[in-house]
């Protein structure tokens, strides 16, 4: 058990998989000599050489496609896209190739490809560098998406992704790389797509993923002082979604709040909300609510940027409103 940064646990996961299996390779911009923009591939080139840790030109479409082609020949490529914003150039390789080849080939070609990239809003990087694309990727049959929120999950889920024979996207978060947490490299991992209860409470179920889990836990802590007990579910996976864990909890609390950093319109929250009301309609005391990013390109100005995505206060007031307890008395 060790206390690691999120980036370090990803680095350990990479190292463990590369040591164990020489079909694992990684490629991307500045992953080699530089050690990765967020240090995830630090030290790997020295250890495994240039053919296994490849610095690429700025050619996202083709180097992601390279990952697809290499996976068809049985390698297990881990493609790093520096940030999700640049994946827009690789969207053909991801959606038309990686997601569809296993199916179009009648099952002849599995796709043991992992694509790692950070998404989310960091700090004042402007609209082109501050966006979330999970809504786009979730909508593509054939892609699986892991969204680790903790260093432990980052470690487990990256290793599991590399083992997977399907195209798997590990969606990291720019503001989580320097968060710290206990990582047990020996412990048995839960299934990669299983949601986990980070906190249990009887009054309301809050479903979140990635960095929003941390905000949800902060809000739960705060609400507990007011006597409101909130369950926080960390989805850990956006495709597939662990419905049973969500349904079970909502059936017990009768209230459901979904928190996502992505824009509200047609996002992950919309899918969660639609399916959960289908499955839990008669258990719900109130309509399912969403706290989400505003439907606007991210403004550069720091205050506006912060106001365009959910804050802990927004979660707290949404819960109060849902439970009809304005101003803090429970």
């Amino acid at each position: 058990m060790s206390d690691l940064f999120y980036w370090q646990s990803l680095n350990r996961a990479m190292d463990a998989e590369m040591a164990a299996d020489e079909t694992v390779i990684t490629l991307g911009e500045d992953v080699g000599l530089y050690g990765g923009t967020y240090r995830v591939t630090e030290g790997l080139m020295a250890k495994y050489g240039e053919w296994r840790v490849r610095d690429t030109p700025i050619s996202e479409n083709s180097f992601t496609g390279l990952g697809v082609g290499a996976a068809m020949l049985g390698l297990r490529p881990v493609v790093e896209i520096m940030t999700i914003n640049f994946a827009l150039f690789a969207i053909d390789a991801i959606i038309n190739m990686a997601a569809k080849i296993p199916f179009m080939s009648g099952g002849q070609f599995p796709m043991p490809l992992t694509i790692r990239m950070p998404g989310g809003i960091a700090r004042q990087l402007g609209a082109q560098h501050s966006q979330r694309l999970e809504h786009t990727l979730m909508n593509v049959p054939g892609l699986r998406i892991a969204v680790p929120a903790t260093p432990q999950d980052a470690y487990w889920q990256l290793r599991q992704a590399i083992h997977s024979d399907d195209a798997l996207i590990v969606l990291e978060h720019e503001l989580l790389y320097f968060s710290k947490g206990d990582v047990n490299e020996k412990a048995v991992a839960p299934p990669i797509h299983q949601a986990l209860l980070r906190r249990s409470g009887r009054d309301v179920t809050c479903i979140a993923y990635s960095r929003m889990v941390i905000l949800a836990l902060e809000a739960a802590e705060f609400l507990a002082k007011e006597g409101i007990e909130m369950t926080v579910i960390d989805l850990r996976s956006l495709a597939p979604i662990d419905w049973d864990t969500c349904v079970q909890s909502v059936q017990q609390t009768h209230h459901c709040l979904i928190v996502e950093e992505d824009c509200r319109f047609a996002g992950a929250g919309a899918e969660l909300s639609a399916t959960l009301q289908e499955r839990c309609f008669y258990f719900l005391d109130r309509p399912i609510q969403r706290v989400a990013g505003l439907d606007i390109p991210t403004p550069f100005n720091g205050k506006l940027e912060a106001a365009s995505i959910p804050r802990t206060e927004d979660i707290i007031s949404a819960v109060r409103q849902m439970l009809g307890t304005p101003g803090g008395q429970s």
Binding site: E29, L33, P57, N301
Partner: protein, 354 residues
């Protein structure tokens, strides 16, 4: 080149350096946040090219674009305010350092996704050609950007349809931490343009006069309907890729070598050469002396006192810009929404067809 023009170019190079150093300081003090990609070392490129441009020309740039904007005539105040995210910024605090836009000065923006400047320039040039105007589109990009598919796609279409674009590669030899020999099979970038039949030339990007001369010639051809032209300008950035990058991947000897050949120092040297001191004359070789002499005869004169005056002038302008930026108001969310809906009012979008 006359004395005034030479003075103006030197002045812009000094302005550019002073502006970027002030931005670096603002970042270090926490006044400016986000990615900040600075230009010191590369001034001769922007200044040489943009001094050869006409006011009617369009400019498309990258995230390393403060100096392109400044030399293009966007007030230092408005650029600095944008870096600070203020409502008085050229993009109203919505864009930031990497997204300076100024329609009135035909500055079509800074783009943060590498490879985006090509299609934007292509489209702008298509519109210019369609209207048969004698205008050019100047498209800036780095050595790293030429491996993006859009580069190849756009060069082909530009050549195919003879579009009025001047492609300007700012070859500083690095794609963040990856040196050009490790990211490009062909490291002489201009040769790639030849593959599309686009006239291309490699020029010393540390020499503002050489850049200016090459750009002027190329722009003349573009404007006379000869189709796209391509310049590869070899240069170097003194700082890291952005303020977040310590640039530890570059050998010190390399940085020192380029700094010894500083474009501003070189420009000052040229400018001063009207009256080289006896010591200076003695210190340089025969070729240089004859070069200086020719230059002195043909060009104007500047002296040390005037250069000092220029430095003070531009520093005052930059200090004023910083003050302006710091004192300006921040936008509020209503500003953001009104910018967002500026040309697309919801009521209009929902109108049913008659």
């Amino acid at each position: 080149m006359d004395r005034l023009q030479m003075r103006a170019m030197l002045r812009d190079m000094l302005r550019a350096r002073a502006f970027e150093e002030a931005a670096a300081q603002g970042y270090a003090q926490g006044q400016i946040a986000g990615f900040l990609h600075l230009y010191p070392g590369e001034e001769a490129v922007a200044v040489g090219v943009l001094h050869a441009a006409e006011p009617g020309d369009y400019v498309v740039s990258t995230y390393r674009e403060h100096v392109h904007a400044l030399v293009r005539g966007i007030p230092a105040q408005e650029i600095m305010a944008e870096l600070h995210g203020k409502i008085t910024g050229v993009s109203k605090g919505m864009g930031g350092s990497m997204h300076l836009f100024d329609a009135s000065r035909r500055f079509l923006g800074g783009y943060a996704i590498v490879g985006e400047t090509f299609p934007i320039a292509l489209g702008a040039a298509y519109a210019v050609a369609y209207r048969r105007l004698p205008e050019a589109v100047i498209c800036f990009f780095g050595d790293g950007a030429v491996n993006q598919g859009t580069f190849h796609e756009s060069l082909n279409m530009a050549a195919l349809w003879k579009l009025p674009i001047l492609f300007v590669c700012e070859n500083n030899h690095y794609q963040i931490g990856t040196e050009i020999h490790r990211h490009s099979a062909i490291t002489e970038v201009y040769k790639r343009a030849c593959g599309y039949g686009i006239p291309a030339e490699k020029v010393d990007g540390m020499d503002v006069l050489a850049v200016h001369a090459a750009a002027r010639k190329a722009l003349e051809r573009v404007r006379s309907g000869d189709g796209p032209q391509f310049l590869e300008l070899e240069t170097y950035r003194y700082r890291g890729h952005s303020m977040a990058d310590p640039a530890s991947y570059r050998p010190n000897v390399e940085l020192n070598a380029y700094q010894a050949n500083d474009p501003i120092a070189a420009a000052i040297h040229e400018a001063e050469s009207a009256y080289p001191s006896a010591d200076a004359m003695a210190a340089v070789g025969a070729d240089c002396i004859s070069h200086f002499c020719d230059h002195c005869c043909q060009e104007g004169h500047l002296d040390k006192a005037e250069i000092t005056r220029l430095r003070q002038e531009v520093q005052a302008e930059v200090d004023d810009a910083v003050r302006f930026a710091q004192q300006s108001a921040e936008p509020d969310m209503q500003d953001a929404w009104s910018v967002f809906h500026h040309n697309r009012r919801y009521e209009v979008l929902m109108e049913t067809a008659p």
